[in-house]
């Protein structure tokens, strides 16, 4: 089920990428806070310029992408489980069919054998011999 993992295809490198992204974000935030502390008049421009909405949109897209990937992985696992279940049920049904067929053939054979034995017994009795 490795192909169905919720993790990306980069494995451990994802940790490094995430760390790098986090560090960059933190650096940008620190620089922004310092810049605003040095020039408070820039804050009004920042809030009116749509930068915050853009940032929120970007963050939302990143979160959505991650959630969507998890959702897809879960769906794939669900489908795989359904297929497995269907195959198992199919196996059970065919095994039952097989058993029933074997039983039927065996019974048919035994019934014929019994009939033949009875016929011989009758012949022996009517012929004057003893069945034993």
């Amino acid at each position: 089920m490795a192909e169905l993992s919720a993790k990306g295809r980069y494995g451990k490198a994802e940790w490094a990428i995430a760390g790098l992204g986090l560090g960059s974000g933190a650096t940008v935030a620190v620089v922004a806070v310092r810049a605003i502390a040095a020039h408070p008049e820039l804050l009004a421009q920042l809030l009116n310029g749509g930068f915050l909405y853009f940032s929120a949109l970007m963050a939302g897209m990143v979160l959505f992408r991650k959630e969507f990937r998890d959702f897809n992985a879960m769906q794939a696992r669900h489908v795989a489980a359904q297929e497995k279940l269907a195959a198992s049920v199919g196996d059970l049904v065919s095994r039952d069919d097989q058993r029933a067929r074997e039983q039927e053939i065996t019974l048919n054979h035994l019934a014929r054998q019994s009939e033949e034995i009875l016929k011989h017994l009758r012949e022996m009795t009517h012929g004057g011999g003893s069945p034993a």
């Binding site: 067929r101 053939i105 065996t106 054979h109």
Partner: protein
């Protein structure tokens, strides 16, 4: 594990009889696994490979016909659609006899 010749003669006869009875009842044609299951139920010490060997032997004697499929992935052989030949029917009905086939 090799079966002794007497058991093989007996099993050949039983297989032939079962195929004959199945044909007479106009049921679907048998396969190796089903035949082995029936032989087990009749208390024979049978296994699928032994049944296959005996079926191939009966075919070589001209008493049975079947389709043999080889699974290239697993390397196994499956025998399906077994049918009795007129020569095989004669043996079951007692018209002729074969010392290698013990039909009671």
């Amino acid at each position: 594990m090799a079966a002794d010749p007497q058991l093989k003669r007996r099993l050949r006869g039983m297989i032939l009889r079962l195929v004959y009875e199945n044909h007479e009842a106009q049921k679907h044609r048998l396969d190796d696994v089903t035949l082995t299951g029936v032989l087990e139920r009749l208390q024979f010490d049978a296994y699928v490979n032994l049944t296959r060997e005996l079926l191939q032997d009966l075919k070589e004697r001209g008493l049975l016909n079947f389709e043999q499929e080889r699974d290239r992935t697993r390397g196994s052989v499956a025998i399906r659609k077994i049918q009795i030949t007129p020569k095989g029917r004669d043996i079951v009905e007692g018209t002729t006899a074969d010392p290698a086939v013990d039909v009671e």
